[in-house]
């Protein structure tokens, strides 16, 4: 496949009879000119007409069935019938000009493409549906500045808002991150950089924990912390439930990222005599930093959207609660869930508004993760590369300057003491502490 894509046929070397055996010998073109490169991909004109014709025939059949014979109704059913008819007609049209193998190839190609279209269409539709239905509540500024404290179920959208849920989400996720980031990354470091039998055990356990259903994590926190210790729902308990959910995700993702750090970077650090800690701090972590940031942000996106553990642990409230250890503290997904339980249209509109805010939050996190972590470990952007080059030029200057000075010093000492002069060709030792920051930026 790649061979077809490579630029071929540019220069064919003249073959001589003395060409070594066991090599591919390309016959000489013998004076015939090499034509322009052939297109091996892309559709012919009749392929496009086949698609168009099959599509119109499929639509026509569906309209006919639904309009005249009508045992069927509904948009989804119409699409289904139209699609099946389209596939049938397409196979028929292709089979006029090609053999059975090609018919199979074309039909499967269309099926693969439609699976993709269906999936991504569904994704875009789910997100767009929420955003569009949320438009009713979003333009009201009070939606972001007020809580639901003074708003009754029958009040219009100009009263009340979700600032308490936004604050609750932020507080809960911050608490969860304060535990998850250090613990998760240190555990991942333990798995990769220390290793051993116990590390394998830790990896098995944390892999097992990714299977923990979120509701069971919530139930654990509910019966272990709320029922036994605090006797009330709180933001702290919700944060603990989110932590139990996020920790395995962050550990697994960071583990993969740390494993991608090239081994020769580590070996180079060890060969320069650095200790394991210095290797981790100055080589492994800076190299894996974009990937680690992505792992944490994606874990955050998952944690923010978790509803079921929060449902059991945080409690529902309509007021802003600044104290995470006392009293219920609602979060955005739970607020969505709570709003849409009500039959009032205004409450449902608020629910869609909150869901839209939640989606925008997740999208923003995702875009940030992509911007940071789009590159693999060790790959640098243009500006970063320029900075590294400038830093190493500075280093070179410093090293050569020091070396020259030492040679001069040695020469003057030799003149004084009539000591044998060290040869100038042996380079003087580089400074013992090369500036390690240059790899980190």
């Amino acid at each position: 496949m790649t061979i077809l894509l490579e630029p071929t046929g540019t220069v064919i070397p003249e073959l001589t009879p003395t060409a070594p055996a066991h090599t591919t010998t390309i016959p000489s073109p013998g004076g015939t000119p090499i034509g322009p490169r052939r297109r091996v991909r892309g559709a012919r004109l009749d392929d496009r007409f086949n698609l168009l014709g099959a599509a119109s025939a499929g639509i026509a059949v569906a309209v006919l069935l639904f309009g005249w014979f009508s045992p069927l109704s509904g948009g989804v059913g119409w699409l289904l019938v139209a699609f099946i008819a389209f596939i049938g007609f397409y196979a028929l049209l292709v089979s006029f000009a090609s053999d059975w193998q090609e018919v199979k190839d074309r039909v499967m190609g269309v099926l693969l493409a439609s699976a993709g279209v269906l999936l991504f269409g569904a994704l875009v539709f789910v997100v767009a549906f929420t955003l569009v239905r949320g438009q009713e509540a979003l333009p009201h500024l009070n939606f972001f500045t007020q809580s639901m404290e003074l708003a009754g179920p029958l009040d219009g959208l100009e009263v009340g808002g979700i600032v308490h849920a936004i604050l609750g989400t932020l507080m809960q996720i911050s608490m969860a991150l304060a535990i998850t980031i250090p613990l998760g990354i240190l555990t991942a470091l333990f798995l990769n950089e220390v290793g051993g039998k116990f590390a394998r055990f830790v990896r098995t356990i944390s892999d097992a924990m990714t299977a923990l259903p979120s509701i069971v994590a919530g139930l654990f926190v509910y019966s272990a912390i709320i029922v036994l210790i605090t006797h009330q729902r709180s933001g702290f308990a919700a944060a603990m439930a989110i932590t139990v959910m996020m920790l395995p995700i962050v550990i697994r993702a960071s583990d993969i990222v740390l494993r991608l750090v090239p081994g020769n970077l580590r070996e180079a650090a060890y060969a320069l005599g650095s200790t394991r800690w210095r290797t981790v701090w100055h080589v492994v972590l800076p190299t894996a930093r974009p990937g680690l940031a992505t792992a944490v942000i994606l874990g955050t996106a998952r944690g923010i959207g978790e509803t079921s553990p929060v449902l059991l642990t945080s409690g529902v409230t309509a007021v802003v609660n600044w104290n995470p250890f006392e009293g219920p503290m609602i979060s955005l997904p739970l607020q969505v869930f709570d709003f849409v339980k009500s039959p009032e249209p205004n409450m449902i509109a608020r629910g869609f508004g909150s869901a839209a805010v939640l989606i925008l939050l997740v999208l923003a996190l995702f875009v940030i993760a992509r911007l940071i972590g789009g590159k693999g470990p060790g790959q640098l952007g243009r500006r970063q590369q320029e900075r590294v080059i400038a830093a190493s030029a500075l280093d070179l200057q410093r090293i050569t300057l020091q070396g020259d000075r030492r040679v001069l010093l040695d020469a003057s000492a030799a003149q004084d003491d009539h000591r044998p002069q060290p040869s100038a060709s042996t380079p003087s030792a580089p400074p013992s502490d090369p500036n390690p920051k240059e790899t980190s930026s």
Partner: protein, 346 residues
Amino acid sequence: MSFSTLFDAPAVEPPTIDPANPDSSPRRSLAARPSVSDSVFRSVAFLAGCITVAIMLAVGVFLSLRASEALGVAGFSFLVEQDWSPESQKFGIASVLFGTITIAVIAMCVAVPLALGTALLISEVAQGRMRSTLVTLVDLMAAVPSVVFGLWGVFFLQANVIPVATWISTYFGWIPFFRVEDITGQTLTEASAFTSSAFIAGIVVGLMVVPTQTSVMREAFSQAPIGEREAAFALGSTRWGMIRAVVLPFGRGGIIGGTMLGLGRALGETIAVYMIISPIFTINWEVLKTGTNSVSALIALRYGESSSFGLSALMAAGLVLFLITLVINFTASSIVARSRSGAESD
């Protein structure tokens, strides 16, 4: 490991070997002598590992301990009893487990073809920028909160899928699963008999697990050796012929493993299911008919009003669910690891 122990010694004395008699000098010790910073780093990392394991084990041990109380009372009937009333000592997970598995199976019927098609589309058909965009979109889809899928299921899908469900039950009613009838055996056709069914919940859960499955499958497919692909093309195969002869056999482990990982997530899904279904506590074979249940929805429904013993019974249900997803996840990852595409060297 051997590599790091070799190179860990921060400062080793230069070996003093007498060139005349090399055997006379004592053999240099290669044992690691970690510096202070190293031992601190090691013990902190070890401590982090211990805390992680402690948290995770605490969850497992606590669940088992609290669940054993209810399991001791219910005994074997916990697995076959359909009703759920711990107050009268009559409770079991037969109906909720059945509902969970029904929803998960329907989800798989929706998700596996979609995931397989999308994974092949990304790894075989799409090129360049298109491919990376699609990969990003799949990742993004995995991050969409489940409550949003639930909203979509309740406020959009439900109304639009009922005609399809009616149609299936009318024309395929001779298959027992698709029949919709009341207690007397009368076939129902009005729309209200088709709301809040396992079918609708299964479709939504299926859409939610597609990204997980797609990324595992795509990973496996993209590792199919280029030489074998080109060999298939060189023998005159079409693209689909190449996929069938090379990519699909090579990625079989990825397909099975990805499917099972998605199944594990589908079994544990709570909030979208809870929003859509109307809970019942009997085994309902008619998947298109209103009313089903799942273990996680049961927990979300009953945790608040439970006594201490009721909580223990819910713990037991949660424990069974956890054990099922655990077995599925470990089987899946071992299948992926043992398959040809999961092996590192080839």
